[in-house]
């Protein structure tokens, strides 16, 4: 029996393919690289099938790249030469929803939309990114340390993780959290000793294939109040925003250039880009000036189980804002702003969909994590750097909770993928961005293709990661294209 026949014997003929049309469809990304040619694509439906596939790949030393739905932005699931793409979208069962322990057990193919619908009767939610409805809830919570609506309230999406069931690179099944005990379910993230669930967080599929996970649920708070604050420059926002975050005066703090506003404006005249991929900053400047808006704005929102909770915190926040004389922006006539307003309640936003309105098919979200106090020194040079390479990167700033310990600085880089020059510049910009962020103490988030830059700053840390990888995946078959964890003798 050849390899293909053996894969077919596991999942059936319909769910394994080495056909050109299948291979080539999975060999695409918005990232400025050309993905390698995989051997085939497989779509398992059960944990048992995943075990059999991993065991077989282990035996024949065939690399595996798991993809949940496959809407990544930063090249985190690129096929590997002669490897197997494991499309997890058929593993989309919701095993359990327990409104008492506030935990749901779901498979990796469960999508945001599916989850919102399933939790609707309970008035509960879990972490959802401001992403498109068909993407995987678990991919965002576990592998991507995602930034959902509650990033300011609870921190990154992995706050919601209660435990996983994963198939290691050897084919063994591992369970973490209280659910690891036969006698228990997933009511607690931890079990004996260290937090092994953490091994999978941010792992991008390198430590094991997650086949099931327990996620925390949170109540949907129906009462909200929000305010838009305007600043002339980022530096002016640092102190007040840091204070608001650390005093927990707001549940959602999101700062940005006018990217979302402009791209959600349905009258946006695409001609102004002059055929360029990105939304030019000077156009955005004109757009906001015509509306009397400040260069920098922050969207702050408070949510509550009832009106009283919102009212008390609103009073505190307003007293602080007005006491400092911070400008409030009136956006009552901007419909996109109201749509954005509802995101905090865990609804899918049509504005989120418009993030991907761009020209040229190249889109990269460059993200680093740094404390709010560092914004001034890190952000401005990136804008300058972007201009040097001919891009107008636009930023989004998200304050991470629960007490504004740090923040996410995200640059959205749109470029024309079919233009080789623009592609090369995008790649260079990405490299320089990474070096700049790391040199300034930022942690690179989801930046998968240049682990070397990070490694240079943290050699011991990397050595340890590699050792861990060797334990759970001795032949290094799991997503070897990312994080640079491949041992030198296996490269």
């Amino acid at each position: 029996m050849d390899f293909a026949e053996r894969f077919i014997s596991i999942v059936g003929k319909k769910h394994f393919s080495t056909e050109l049309a299948v291979i080539e469809a999975y060999r695409d990304t918005l990232f400025p690289v050309d993905p390698e040619e995989p051997f085939g694509v497989i779509m398992p439906e059960t944990t048992e099938q995943v075990v059999d596939i991993v065991k077989l790949c282990n035996e024949i030393e065939m690399p595996i790249v798991p993809i949940a739905v496959g809407a990544p932005i930063n090249g985190m699931n690129l096929p590997v030469k002669n490897g197997l793409v494991m499309d997890m979208s058929r593993m989309n069962k919701i095993h359990d929803i327990d409104p008492d322990t506030m935990v749901a057990v779901i498979e990796p193919g469960v999508t945001i939309g599916q989850m919102i619908k399933a939790l609707e009767p309970y008035n509960l939610m879990t972490s959802y990114p401001n992403s498109s409805p068909p993407v995987s809830v678990l991919a965002n919570i576990i592998f991507l340390k995602g930034s959902g609506q509650h990033i300011t309230k609870y921190g990154t999406a992995d706050y919601y993780l209660q435990g996983v069931e994963a198939v290691l690179g050897t084919g063994e099944i591992m369970k973490t959290g209280s659910g690891a005990l036969d006698s228990s379910d997933w009511h607690f993230r931890y079990c004996l000793g260290p937090d092994l669930s953490g091994l999978f967080i941010g792992s991008l599929g390198t430590m094991g294939i997650v086949t099931k996970a327990a996620v925390k649920l949170a109540p949907i708070c129906p009462y909200t109040w929000s305010v838009a604050l305007g600043f002339d420059k980022i530096g002016d926002a640092v102190k007040p925003i840091n204070y608001i975050g650390k005093m927990k005066m707001a549940d959602y703090i999101n700062g940005q250039y006018w990217y979302t506003g402009v791209s959600a404006d349905t009258d946006y005249p695409w001609e102004v880009t002059g055929g360029k991929a990105a939304l030019p900053l000077d156009y955005m400047d004109k757009w906001r000036e015509s509306k009397g808006l400040t260069p920098v704005w922050f969207h702050l929102a408070i949510e509550g189980i009832d009106e009283r909770e919102v009212a008390v915190r609103r009073q505190m926040l307003e007293e602080y804002i007005d006491g400092l004389g911070i400008k409030r922006l009136d956006m009552s006539n901007d419909s996109w702003y109201h749509v954005r307003d509802t995101q905090i309640q865990g609804t899918i936003s049509s504005v989120a969909a418009r993030f991907c309105r761009h020209r040229g098919g190249g889109w990269s979200s460059l993200v680093f994590i740094a404390p709010v106090k560092k914004w001034g020194e890190i952000l401005d040079p990136v804008i300058e750097m972007g201009r040097k390479y001919g891009f107008d990167p636009t930023y989004l700033l998200k304050v991470f909770g629960p007490y504004a310990h740090t923040s996410q600085c995200r640059f959205v880089l749109s470029y024309n993928k079919s233009d080789p020059d623009e592609r090369a510049r995008a790649k260079k910009f990405t490299q320089e961005f990474t070096q700049h962020a790391v040199a300034n103490g930022g942690v690179i988030h989801r930046q998968t293709l240049q682990p070397g830059v990070v490694m240079a700053h943290q050699p011991e840390y990397y050595a340890l990661l590699k050792q861990l990888k060797k334990i759970v995946d001795p032949k290094c078959i799991l997503n070897r294209g990312v994080l640079g964890l491949v041992p030198e003798d296996q490269e």
């Binding site: 695409d28 739905v69 068909p134 695409w270």
Partner: protein, 350 residues
């Protein structure tokens, strides 16, 4: 070669690979996450969703890959139902361009015949003239769209509504040549039909099938000839025939998503006395039944069964649609599922 490669590549480059073309993603029903792409739902691999086809089309146009049997299957398993375009968040972008451009290329390379089952376009025989010297004509069309019985029912309804028309018989509008991607052959039919319309002094053309209506209206250039759908001429002229029967309406892609005709059939169904209930996937977000004679039966069966499920969930006793093909396909699905739902082509209820 009719394909403007640079322009098409630029268009296809707009795809953000967000996968919204897989599901009903429109707020607020996005939360139902209901599948919407017949071929993707059947085959499951990304290849068979719009996003996969966009990738393949880009690679073919760039010369990175060439057609083989698997690519032809991916290309011709698209129902061209328009659901992906409806869900796609990118402004001014039609993901179906990937399918149409690859079909044109496949025809050009002489590869389409091996995979595309050209339907029977023998003209329907019709003895249905209402008034011989009218400048209004009923475009009778071919077996691929309908049959003599349905056309007769439509003609009778038009006569009853005092519409004066003569039949324009013996021709097919070239609908399936267009779907195949044979632009040259389609253009030839279009030209000869247009000349024949002119020679017959036609000022108004009545289409009775959704696909024909779309093609005559959008793909023909008929200066001085108005194209109407037969239901438009019946609006306000239908009498109630039933009462207390719950009916739901399945929007055919060509009448709904392509031409935006949603309210007219519903108004007629209500005028007939039915109590109208809506399926969860409806109007712009309707699932295609895949009921095209050039389409893959197994995929059409899966899609149609989904519609029957939605109709049952809506509490309908009767599922009404427009067009013989859709009615036959949905009836088959209801039978296969053992559903008590009765499927009807609106034409047969008039």
């Amino acid at each position: 070669m009719t394909i403007e490669k640079e322009k098409v590549l630029k268009d296809l480059g707009l795809c953000a690979r967000c996968r919204q073309c897989r599901m009903v993603c429109e707020v607020p029903i996005a939360t139902t996450m209901l599948p919407i792409c017949p071929s993707g739902e059947f085959y499951k691999f990304d290849t068979y969703f719009a996003s996969g086809r966009v990738t393949l089309a880009k690679k073919i146009l760039l010369g990175k890959i060439d057609f083989d049997e698997s690519i032809l299957r991916a290309v011709y398993s698209c129902a061209l139902c328009g659901s992906c375009k409806q869900q796609c968040p990118i402004l001014n972008f039609d993901p179906m361009e990937a399918t149409t451009v690859m079909r044109e290329l496949a025809v050009e390379k002489g590869l389409a015949d091996s995979i595309y089952p050209m339907p029977d376009t023998t003209p329907i025989e019709c003895d249905c003239a209402a008034c011989a010297d009218s400048d209004t004509a009923l475009f009778v069309g071919s077996q691929a769209q309908s049959d003599a019985e349905t056309v007769k029912a439509i003609a009778t309804a038009l006569k009853k509504a005092s519409v004066c028309f003569k039949p324009f018989a013996g021709a097919d509008a070239g609908e399936y040549l267009l779907r195949k991607g044979d632009i040259k052959a389609f253009s030839a039919i279009k030209e000869s039909n247009t000349a024949a319309f002119k020679a017959a002094g036609i000022k108004k053309l009545i289409a009775h099938d959704p696909m024909t209506y779309k093609v005559l209206k959008q793909d023909y250039v008929l200066d001085g000839i108005e194209v109407v759908f037969y239901l438009e001429l019946l609006a306000g002229k239908v009498e109630a025939k039933v009462s207390g029967v719950k009916a739901t309406y399945h929007d055919p892609s060509y009448l709904g998503r392509y031409l935006g005709v949603y309210d007219l059939p519903r108004a007629i169904i209500t005028a007939l006395g039915y109590e109208l209930v809506e399926m969860v996937r409806t109007k712009e977000n309707a699932m295609s039944s895949g009921a095209f004679p050039d389409y893959i039966p197994a995929v059409a069966d899966l899609a149609s069964k989904t519609i029957i499920g939605d109709a049952e969930q809506a509490g309908a006793q009767v599922l009404i649609t427009v067009g013989r093909n859709a009615a036959v396909q949905l009836q088959k699905a209801a039978q296969q599922l053992g559903s008590a739902i009765v499927v009807k082509d609106l034409a047969t209820l008039l």
